[in-house]
């Protein structure tokens, strides 16, 4: 599928088409932070519309929020609950790390022994346009976990279109049939060699920047070495010392899949079940009904996070449950940098 070029002056027309029969979200710059925002038709061309952040790093909110809802009704009793039909959506300007995070979510919720139909239907109804990340931040480390700052064929399981901002417009490369269809409603024309060269140069510069930010690499045997360190309380306590247990890292994480099911009484013999995001750092997380708790000490919960993401998931699914987005580091009040902890394991 050939890359196209859509000049700046024709972008509004395309977005108007998209927003006519879909819900479109875009990365908006709000107080110098990137946040997902719903695109209202009135925003197109409006002077007070938020600035688009296609050339910034990923949005603050984890992309999983669109599919794995932070809070969601999932069952009722005795009547049976059916989740509502999902709306057609476009995430216009996700990052490549978001696509990788969605892959982790899919492995957990769609490809396992039990399929979460509500997740699967929402995901199937959503088209994802991944924008290149031309200026990775100091917190970014997608290159350490095997990923890259743009989407291509390798990301087509979760990305429908790769978007690159170049001079005068966007280079748009459809990666899936659905992406091709989406582009069909635009006035994009075949991209020129010069435009593709500009895209390539931007991608190479982003890769170079990542190499500068992360000069040390994760070793191929990282998974084994984290597992082998499971008894080293002194090591993990040293790194956990600055954690204030706010759980911000886990809530901001796009690959954390933990959830809690809790039931509310609706009437005699009736209940409503809600699924909410959960965090394995919470003290009661692994506690059983009788009160025993295998991870009562925080250091065990701290280790569990690293084991889960960089060891168990890698061994089990062939990829770490980490996209390298750096949200966890960015939100951490204790300034704990996940990269430094993993690199210290490898020392």
């Amino acid at each position: 599928m050939k890359p196209r070029f859509l000049p700046t002056e024709k972008q509004k027309a395309w977005l108007s088409v998209l927003v006519a029969d879909r819900v479109v979200f875009f990365p908006a710059i709000i107080k110098d932070q990137v946040h997902w925002q719903r695109l209202d038709p009135g925003m197109l061309g409006a002077a007070d519309a938020p600035e688009w952040g296609l050339e910034r790093i990923r949005a603050s909110e984890p992309v999983k929020s669109f599919f794995f809802n932070p809070r969601e009704k999932v069952a009722t009793f005795p009547d049976k609950f059916v989740s509502p039909e999902p709306e057609k959506r476009v995430l216009f300007g996700a990052s490549a790390c978001d696509a990788v995070a969605l892959r982790v979510n899919r492995k957990m919720f769609v490809e396992g022994d039990f399929k979460d139909e509500a997740y699967a239907r929402r995901r199937a109804a959503t088209c994802v346009v991944v924008a290149d990340c031309p200026s990775p931040a100091d917190t970014c480390f997608c290159n350490l976990v095997g990923n890259r700052p743009f989407a291509g064929d390798e990301e087509k399981d979760e990305a429908d279109v790769a978007l690159s901002v170049v001079e005068g417009g966007w280079v748009l490369e459809p990666l899936t049939g659905r992406g091709e269809e989406l582009l069909g409603s635009s006035q994009a024309v075949e991209a020129t060699e010069a435009q593709l060269a500009a895209r390539q140069a931007s991608r190479e510069a982003a890769g170079k920047r990542l190499a500068e930010v992360n000069p040390k690499r994760f070793a191929p045997d990282t998974a084994d070495r984290i597992w082998q360190r499971n008894q080293d309380k002194e090591f993990w306590s040293k790194h956990a010392a600055d954690c204030v247990e706010c759980y911000g890292c886990l809530m901001a994480c796009p690959t954390c899949y933990c959830f809690l099911l809790y039931d509310k009484a609706r009437g005699q013999g009736e209940m409503e079940r809600t699924k909410v995001w959960d965090a394995c750092y919470i003290a009661a997380y692994a506690r059983v009904g009788g009160g025993a708790n295998p991870r009562a000490e925080f250091v065990k919960r701290f280790y569990n996070r690293f084991f889960c993401k960089f060891s168990h998931f890698k061994t089990w699914q062939g990829m770490p449950a980490c996209s390298g987005c750096g949200r966890c580091t960015a939100v951490c009040m204790g300034k704990i940098d996940v990269r430094k902890v993993v690199l210290d394991v490898l020392q």
Partner: protein, 271 residues
Amino acid sequence: MTNIFQPISAEIIKTIDETPNIRTFVLRPEQEVPFLAGQFIELTMPGFGEAPFTPSSSHFNRDLIEMTIMKVGRATGALFNFKVGDKVGIRGPYGARYPLEKFEGRDIYIVGGGVGLAPLRALFLALTHEIDKYGRVFLRYGARTPADIVYKYLIPEWEKLKKVDIDLSVDVSDEKWMKKVGVVTCLMDEIPCNEAESIAVVCGPPIMMKFVTMKLLEAGFQGQNIYLSMETNMSCGLGQCGHCKLGPYFTCKDGPVLTWDQVKGIPDPFV
């Protein structure tokens, strides 16, 4: 569309008080729940929560499901107020079954403690239903006091079964108690089967599981032949929510029964 979080309805058709804080609930689900011994079910106490329990009845009779439950927390506390005729919810079955095909031709040494006999009963009934496939079945069971023994009314019948050998102990006896006094490991000083070839199956409080496992290993049982019911916070039953993670296992999916060889490398597997 299948909703993996949606329970089906089951009616409580009978309850049996086993001990002062353990009760058996006999349930009739609205549709058959195709469980196999070792698998568990998520039981919804409407309005009070959901918790995992392993059926204690035979998988050869699935019209009714029996679950023997100890009152320990909020949800089970509420369940004890449910009456015959009330409806509860059921999801499942979940988890891995006992690999009975690996048990064929071998002696099976079952050790239970307290309410831990409940899931072992499903195994015991499955084994004795087709006893000719297996070697001898030894059941060693310990409870705190004679009053804390579950299935008191069934054990005399079980003792009469072909190829079955049962012994009991209590931590604290009363004047009528004629069997051993001590923790369940006191029944294990002589193990009357070929330890290297036999299967051991253990379920009980974590501390009991730990010492029984040590005793079994000391006696010569192979780690791959020691099946342990691991107690973790199984919540979704689907291998998704993460609460039951035990080292590299989701016990709700890979367990709840794991072998000693699977858990021995995990720090503090018995908590």
